[in-house]
Symmetry: C3
Subunit: 137 residues, 3 copies
């Protein structure tokens, strides 16, 4: 059994933003020489999300609009008395900060249109972190 | 340590539809003779969801109505300039295409009312695939 | 490889309620002496949710308001002909009843503001159960 970790770090430069992590996660898995197991891609953040879907620019706008519709930024939330980012926390509750992906024969079993996308709900941030963990053979 | 895979394939015949996979997943786990570990039930599709809930016909209608409420089909989404299925992608973002289930002493630790349900958001489709992965002892 | 289980039981005393499980999950992981692996925290219930976010009282109210907004209690759902809790099932579909957490060097890799929170969508209940499973080295 192997349990492997890698930490990806990056900055975000917009208030809300999608960052496609697929290539980097695949490169890490290839470098490790994974075989059969699963990958957990996890953001240790309460105001970010990780989703699996298509990285098409129009759809990315639709996704950010959906995030806004689910938890609008301009609402007078209780949490905003403490910190002005309740909407970002709520979006991270609806769209959790991790995904789990099967890995077989060294390959992530993603569908053709599935990309691993980090969603910044409370940017810009100088440093965001995503943990990539492999557990398997 | 054992890592096992099985692929379930089926067609869907409606625009939106719930397919209860519990019996088939349980049959696969039994055939494997699983002991202690976890199951990942993963659809490699960007326009489908997998949920855990009760398979009661009235509730299934409520669930499909909820999917429609969260991302209505009749909105002029940006992605629809490319493909007329943005609503189905968005539903797969809100309701992700996988679930993780604990397995102990050979049994999935599902609650009485928890069924593993595939949700078709963009049907009908001649072929949908669900990957069942076991990782454990 | 080790696969370990512990069952947490508790009662809830309100119709909707957040129960912070972080301390108890951490205590279980410490008692086990976990090293590198992952934790699955899973509620075998179709009317509960488990989320990862900040345990700030104002935000907890915002979160419960969000649950109400996503699936309001006072709607005439189809499932309510059978049992008067469709809204609670729907909330468990939008906010699933489990989370997966990376564990490295014996520590859960949670962010500063991430707490493991059980959400009761259909209380009060005399007995709710949460399964904590570790799979790893």
């Amino acid at each position: 059994m192997r349990v492997l970790f890698h930490e990806i770090s990056f900055s975000t430069n917009k208030r809300v933003q999608i960052v496609d992590l697929t290539g980097e996660v695949r490169a890490i898995a290839n470098r490790w020489g994974v075989s059969n197991g699963m990958l957990l891609v996890f953001a240790p953040h309460a105001t970010a999300s990780i989703i699996l879907n298509e990285a098409e620019p129009g759809l990315e706008r639709d996704i950010l609009n959906l995030f806004e519709a689910v938890a609008p930024a301009d609402v007078d939330y209780h949490h905003n008395r403490i910190d002005n980012n309740a909407h970002a926390h709520l979006r991270s509750v609806v769209f959790p900060p991790y995904v789990v992906i099967p890995v077989r024969n060294g390959k992530m079993l993603l569908g053709t249109w599935q990309r691993i996308m980090f969603v910044e709900n409370d940017g810009p941030r100088a440093r965001r972190t995503v943990i990539v963990e492999y557990i398997g053979e």
